[in-house]
């Protein structure tokens, strides 16, 4: 699942990534814009996704990303792999990883690199 948390409207990246995953053979759900963390987590559980990619380009990632991770944990869905993409100050990246975001992709990451990471690091839930 590719999701856009918060009010940020920059969706060019998220939509390109959704299409790149699809072209790489993944089944993709794109939430569309302006989703609250609660809405995203509910949708991810309902759709039974294996991975959740969060996109943010407007600076609210330090609140929104950890909030999604926390909610997943509260719902017992912490095995959904969360990664993030967008614009983040360097100093925020280790903090986001410490909060449980498994990978962060910043400007200049190639589509191939992003889809390959998912191929190598994401496994269907329930199968280890």
């Amino acid at each position: 699942m590719v999701a856009k948390p918060g009010l940020d409207g920059h969706d060019r990246g998220a939509r390109i990534i959704a299409r790149a995953y699809r072209d790489a053979g993944f089944e993709v759900v794109y939430t569309g814009l302006h989703q609250t963390p609660e809405e995203i987590v509910e949708a991810a559980i309902q759709e039974d996704v294996d991975m959740l990619g969060l996109s943010s380009l407007a600076g609210a990632h330090m609140y929104l990303f950890p909030r999604v991770v926390t909610l997943l944990r509260e719902k017992g869905a912490e095995d959904i792999v969360v990664c993030g993409g967008g614009i983040f100050p360097d100093a925020d990246i280790p903090k986001l990883k410490a909060e449980g975001v498994k990978a962060i992709f910043t400007p200049g990451s190639s589509l191939e690199e992003i889809t390959r990471w998912a191929e190598e690091n994401v496994h269907p839930r329930g199968i280890s």
Binding site: V2, L7, R15, I16, R19, Y63, I87, P89
Partner: protein, 575 residues
Amino acid sequence: MRGTGDHWSGKGYTMSLTFNRDIFGDIAEGNERWEETCRDSFSCKPERRKRFTTVSDKDIKGLYSPEDIKDQNFMKDLAFPGQYPFTRGVQPSMYRGRLWTMRMFAGLGSAVDTNRRFHLLVKEGQTGLSTAFDMPTLMGYDSDSPKARGECGKCGVAINTLRDMEDLFAGLPINSITTSMTINPPAAVIWGMYIAMAEKRGIDRGLLGGTIQNDMLKEFTAQKTFMCPPEPSLRIITDTVEFGTREVPKWNTISISGYHIREAGSTAVQELAFTLADGIAYTQAAIERGLQVDDFAPRFSFFFNSHLDFFEEIAKFRAARRMWAKIMKERFKAKNPRSWWLRFHTQTAGCSLTAQQPYNNVVRTALQALAAVLGGTQSLHTNSLDEVLAIPTEEAATIALRTQQIIAEESGVANTIDPLGGSYFLEALTNQMEEEAFEIIRKIDDMGGMLSAIEKNYPQQEIADAAYRYQRYIDEKERTVVGVNKYVTEEDIPVEILEIDEELERLQIAKTQRIKNDRDSGKLRECLDKVAEACSGDQNVMEPIIEAVKADATLQEVCDVFRNVFGEYRDPGIY
């Protein structure tokens, strides 16, 4: 060409008559000889690439000659600056009369913080103001809304109440400087606050000059700040056009924007076509309201992107002017030459900046700014080198402003009007872009206009396709991005980043809540009811909005009225 100067003297001759028959024969022959030489691999190196294309993937020939513009008619297609169809510029004297307005987009943190940045920019020689709002404000939410958590002041200034608006413009000469406000779904409310702020200072609304972006159609296709569905959005916009025409005649009521369409990944031709198609829709709506085209059309302005491909951008600006003049005169039968004018603001392409080797962004921005100036822009924002990473620091914003000042006062390009006019290549490209853009507009007309094209997701899908194609080209190194897929360096280049204090959110919420506690709640209720009444009926919403914000109604409170009456729009999530 100058040798046959008579024919350039503006008598309406076609270009073919610029050259006598013998000369044309010579040109064809010369062209053939040249092509032959190029094919001869002994005397000429083979070409470096299979295709040479613009950043929009348009094929460009190796050479252009008079043959490429032989059907061009000087007076009909180009004419002189200030003359229909304005290909060479809207004002007769262009930059020799007055330079473009250097208008740097700024907004950060609180109204007081942004006010400080405005004062700095004015002191450094900026000639117009331009306001960036934070995400909650852009979407019609106050800083204390749960939806605003974590976003207050992050990518622009937070404006909740009239008090914020007063702080934002404190000490600035709003009666002499023009102010542009990039605001869309809540444009009517923000504009209402601006008018209320001016009136409290004793400035007559009729004297105010500036711009509200107020272009919802491109929000649905590109920038994606939403509130109500397309139809009621268009109705509120038409209210502002009607109100502006009557009450604030120096205000640009809509800034019809291609910028965001391009940033979302469209090609240059799509940017041109979708923007003008949006303009057609607004014009149509205002005429259906009963307004006379010549009363409101002169207050429509435009906003374009200046991207990486130098000549493609200049051609786009020239084609835009010619196309809009034709649309207004031929399609809408406008008689006032000012209705025919396409006046535009330009911003260099944010999406072209790279996080890698960020100082290269200064060079990219300079080239893009130069294209905008050679294309005859009326005002310009140059991006700062760090804008790909965060809101610009003061130092980065100053370099960006200096870039414009160097182009204006050192390079000499502002000495003469449309200096590239008459270039075989540029004229051919201008013609080609016009033709292709009109073809797209015809397609949109066939769908029943832009509103129904949007409902069919046509522009959204076209833009998504172009954006994906572009990213693929970069990944496959078909297109070079210096520092990203070529000339990559390993070391990190440190750039100072502006950080927004997290404390800001708490302070802003406290300020808004204080105002909410202090106001007359009976008066407020009455005012908001009047806004709701106007929305439900067919009364213009502007006066009730101005009264409501004067009674300290917050931005969100007025927007909630819109949402209650008209419903909310949700992103269909096309990719």
